[in-house]
Amino acid sequence: MNTIVVSITLFILALLIGIEVIGKVPATLHTPLMSGGNSIHGIVLVGVIIVAAHADTPLALVFVGLAALLGTINVVGGYVVTERMLEMFKPKKDVEAKSDAKAEK
């Protein structure tokens, strides 16, 4: 079968999965979620590396280099900032656990 037909099928099924997975996220996590989704679209970096293999004109090299730079900022920055947001939820639990432990004593 034609590759594009398979690809479009994948695309549509992935859209449906996206709606299903996202619909259940509580509002509290919307900001980290948006940021997490933001870093996932940094997957474009993979596309950059794939096209780079055939980049042999100076113009193509400029495109590929710039795209690699932008894509990496997206991926790396996105994941680090999501991690920071999620970290903010964490220490509070430790504090709670400690205060609970104290209360039990």
């Binding site: 992935a14 948006m34 940021s35 870093s39 997957i43 590396i49 096209v51 980049a55 113009l59 932008l70």
Partner: protein, 477 residues
């Protein structure tokens, strides 16, 4: 398909599965961190696979030592620089500035997607170019370029480099329609004239860039969360289009996943503001009708109070509800508010935080800020659950929230009409800490401020909260 190509396909598929799992883990605060790690693992696997593929000659169907050395050096160097910039931006930015940072990352992501698609169009030889490639890559160029300029404006508005107010562009509707028509025309020409594809792709890129500006400039700051979410979805779609052009499963699935998630989130947020997504996207918040209505604002005077009086009121209350808004974030006063809450609780006073879904600049923004300040989860109460409790509250302390508390939203004919609000006006006493007498993003005065049971404390949220805390300590002494 050779054995390597089959392995490659499944590795990319595995990475895509990890992205889906990662997002799924983000459903709950307990597994959210794990979710991010799973997603990072998927990304690392996909990138390593892409680099392995670099040494594979797709035409000769074998690994080759004769790979594109120059391109490899350029890509690796740019990735290193990008990683340093990304980490620096992500670690140095204050938590209050997260929304514009996400928007900025979205800008560069959209730019990268547009460049990959443009490269595909311009650097594919005449024999290899196909209609499918032109359609998918063309859409990638258009959507990526719109996101690039749109997200940049959104970030600029949130960072206050650009005015947060909706910009009035004369003849906006006409210009927008003309712009969209021109983009469609360039896209059709791109597909119809493959030998002129570079020209038409660049024309489409430039026109889409302008559309991004026309799209976001007229939208006010209040609607920015929805816009960022929509643009996030657009980048995902642009990446998926690039994936279709390249025939790469990881790009297709990850892109579609983000496209669907961003869109779902946008609809949820628009719903929270009781606005149709189409209305948000087509016109500025506080558009022409709003400007007319702004003239007849509420009449009367605002009563001013002092930090000492507020401390006294709080000390003798039984139930206090805090209503945080963007002003709190702006003044970096989340820790002071949390301290005040803890102090009151020690006195046996019931304290809760009323969280409006769109308070701040992003959905859940207040939750993140208050979690950072160690406010317990249970005290952060959603709009639907807190609203029935306002009549029992002795004091509602509004810190830097404006439009989400305006009772005018219950009446038709005002710019905020229909927007779900917090019923702060029903509390027994209301104290509002506010920087000045200015209006909120909707551009109208808040009727809450003129109520008999409302007192105003004008000043910086952090400074005023510190003064209230000091006054409370004195009362105890």
């Amino acid at each position: 398909m050779t054995a390597f190509e089959i392995i490659q396909w499944f590795v990319y598929l595995f990475a895509s599965v990890l992205f889906v799992r990662g997002l799924h883990y983000m459903n709950s605060p307990k597994t959210a961190v794990k979710g991010n790690h799973v997603s990072i693992l998927g990304m690392v696997i996909a990138v390593i696979m892409a680099f392995v593929g670099f040494f594979y000659d797709t035409e000769g169907k074998r690994f080759t030592a004769d790979f594109n050395v120059t391109a490899l050096i350029v890509v690796v160097a740019c990735i290193l620089v990008g990683a340093i910039v990304g980490v620096r931006l992500a670690t140095k930015t204050k938590s209050t500035d997260f929304p514009q940072l996400v928007s900025l990352f979205n800008t560069v992501g959209g730019g990268a997607a547009a460049l990959v698609a443009l490269n595909d169009i311009m650097n594919t030889t005449d024999d290899e170019v196909s209609l499918v490639l032109l359609i998918t890559a063309g859409l990638g160029v258009i959507i990526g370029s719109v996101t690039f300029s749109g997200s940049l404006v959104a970030a600029g508005k949130l960072q206050r480099i650009l005015s947060g107010k909706p910009a009035h562009i004369p003849g906006k509707t006409f210009l927008t329609l003309l712009n969209i028509a021109a983009i469609i025309a360039s896209f059709v020409l791109l597909c119809a004239q493959p030998d002129q594809r570079s020209l038409w792709a660049i024309v489409a890129l430039a026109l889409s860039f302008i559309y991004g500006l026309l799209f976001v400039f007229p939208i006010g700051g209040a609607d920015m969360p929805v816009v960022i979410s929509v643009l996030n979805a657009c980048t995902g779609t642009a990446v998926a289009m690039s994936g279709l052009a390249l025939g790469n499963v990881a790009l297709i699935v990850a892109g579609a996943l983000v496209g669907a998630s961003g869109m779902t989130l946008s609809v949820l947020m628009a719903k929270a503001m009781n606005r149709k997504l189409s209305a948000v996207l087509l016109g500025g918040f506080g558009g022409d009708d709003a400007a007319a209505a702004a003239g007849d604002g509420p009449q009367g005077t605002m009563k001013e109070t002092s930090a000492d009086d507020v401390a006294m009121q709080l000390a003798y209350a039984q139930k206090v509800i805090f209503v945080p808004g963007f002003g709190l974030a702006q003044a970096q006063a989340q820790r002071d508010l949390a301290d005040l809450g803890a102090m009151l609780e020690k006195k046996g006073i019931e304290v809760e935080y009323a969280i409006h879904p769109v308070a701040g600049r992003m959905p859940g923004h207040m939750n993140v800020l208050l979690a950072e300040a160690n406010v317990p989860y249970e005290e952060l109460v959603d709009r639907d659950d807190i609203n029935p409790q306002f009549p029992q509250a002795n004091v509602a302390l509004v810190v830097g929230a404006n439009d989400v508390t305006n009772p005018a939203a219950r009446r038709p004919g005002t710019p905020v009409s229909g927007m779900p609000i917090l019923d702060v006006d029903k509390a027994q006493h209301v104290v509002v800490i506010k920087r000045g007498r200015g209006t909120g993003y909707a551009g109208i005065q808040n009727e809450l401020y003129f109520q008999d049971n409302t007192q105003m404390l004008f000043g910086d949220a952090k400074k005023e909260l510190e003064e209230i805390i000091a006054a409370l300590k004195e009362l105890d002494a």
